[in-house]
């Protein structure tokens, strides 16, 4: 008892500080590092590209409009709606990539738009070419995007030509693998892969990539290596689309189409 008391007298302050620091770190982990990412966003602000491409185009366009004669105004306005892609699409947010994964075992990117710009968890992101990933955490001015190349990222997909269904999974080495549900899928290299309606976290019909090579003898399911259509390693801008994940995929559909009259 005395020894314990003595230990406490000597180390109480140290133990207190250690407990405090560990609980702070734990709190930070539970909040997904929001504080750190907010700070990162502020510190890297001078390095970030200023206006988005869409905004730059718009500025140039407004200048052009001012120089034109008034008769062309109607025509100009219709062209402007074509150019201003972000406004045209309604809720789409265009964001700049400001950081990559903090460790090589993860495949994530950080972008400079967050909850103040209306980004919410579960939104999907696309880049030039196709699907990029999904928003997994949001802080006021940044969001974390889990890329489809991450091993924990999975989605239902189909081959656009033959409708063969499968699952696309990321891999620890950054490649993307598609596993087919059928044992003999109708598929050949070059086939386009899009997300299927079975995908819970992604809307259907978004282009993902092309089949690069296949191993149809693989057990338990045939596999194919996918070449992503979006150049994920050189991405600078991405588009965030609002999307609500389907919570319960196992729930029966509301209406079952049935030719026979229902028996009471």
């Amino acid at each position: 008892m005395f020894a314990l008391r003595r230990w406490w007298d000597r180390y109480a302050a140290r133990a207190g500080v250690a407990a405090l620091v560990i609980s702070l770190a734990w709190a930070m982990r539970q909040t997904q590092g929001a504080a750190i990412y907010e700070m990162y966003q502020v510190l890297t602000a001078p390095l970030q590209p200023g206006l988005t491409q869409a905004e730059r185009l718009e500025n140039a366009y407004v200048l052009e409009l001012q120089q034109r004669v008034i008769e062309l105004e109607n025509q100009n306005q219709s062209l402007r709606t074509n150019i201003d892609y972000a406004d045209d699409q309604g809720k789409v947010t265009i964001a700049a990539v400001i950081g990559r994964s903090a460790d090589s075992w993860w495949q994530q990117i950080t972008v400079n738009k967050g909850s103040t710009d209306g980004v919410t968890e579960g939104d999907i992101t696309t880049g030039p070419g196709g699907l990029v990933g999904r928003v997994v955490s949001v802080s006021p001015n940044t969001s974390q995007i889990l890329l489809i190349t991450d091993p924990t990222s999975q989605m239902g997909v189909k081959v656009s030509r033959s409708r063969a269904l499968g699952v696309v999974r990321g891999n620890v080495d950054g490649r993307v693998i598609m596993q087919f549900f059928e044992t003999t899928p109708d598929v050949k290299p070059g086939d386009v892969i899009v997300t299927s309606s079975y995908s819970r976290l992604f809307p259907q019909g978004v282009p993902v990539g092309r089949i690069e090579s296949m191993d149809l003898k693989k057990s338990p399911a045939p596999e194919a290596v996918i070449q992503l259509s979006s150049p994920i390693s050189v991405l600078e801008w991405i588009t965030i689309h609002p999307f609500e994940a389907k919570i319960d995929v196992n729930a029966p559909p509301a209406e079952i189409a049935d030719d026979d009259p229902a028996t009471p």
């Binding site: 982990r29 990559r100 460790d103 993860w106 924990t152 080495d173």
Partner: protein, 184 residues
């Protein structure tokens, strides 16, 4: 955890405050460097493990328990930037304890080349502990997202080696300022 030694113009309280500031500030810088990619920092898509470098330098100047605590704290913070599983806290705790154990030999502290070597070894240890967690997850979990052990360990080779090389090359950048401060 923060003790002030020696005599100088600064009072003990000022020194303690400055020490806390330097410790927190340098740790924060390491965390902020992690998602950054500037030229000359990437090798095979792998970047230096800044947090690990910091933990090693801290540990060779502090006792084993402090090394372990620093490892856990920085590991949890690193987790907050990536994802909860596999955790960095385990690997960095082991790294902190091992480096603090090596500190018994005094000459290590003064020699930046030896510190770089320790960082090299510890980067391999940290990557191995992450790969081990993934492997256990793969073996014990029926719905594990990881596809095969072979892939985990092949990636481990690439990540461990590249991050070890890069981290040890970048060690002096953190070592000199921190060592200069803690030596006083």
């Amino acid at each position: 955890m923060t003790t002030s030694k020696g005599k100088s113009t600064l009072s003990d309280l000022q020194k303690t405050c400055l020490n806390i500031l330097i410790v927190v500030g340098s740790g924060l810088i390491c965390l902020l460097l992690s998602p950054m990619r500037f030229p000359g920092i990437e090798l095979l898509d792998v970047t230096p493990n800044w947090v690990l470098i910091w933990v090693v330098i801290w540990s060779i100047h502090h006792p084993i328990v402090d090394g372990a605590i620093a490892g856990i704290v920085l590991g949890l913070m690193h987790d907050s930037l990536t994802g909860a599983f596999p955790t960095h806290a385990l690997g960095l705790m082991v790294v902190g304890m091992l480096s603090a154990r090596l500190q018994r030999q005094r000459l290590i502290r003064e020699n930046v080349v030896l510190v770089a070597f320790i960082v090299f070894g510890m980067a391999v240890v940290a990557a191995t502990l992450i790969a081990l967690q993934m492997s256990f997850h793969y073996l014990l979990w029926p719905n594990s997202p990881y596809l095969s052990l072979w892939q985990i360990w092949r990636t481990h080779q690439r990540v461990a080696l590249s991050s070890a090389i890069l981290s040890s090359l970048w060690t002096p950048a953190l070592y000199y300022p921190l060592h200069f401060w803690w030596k006083r």
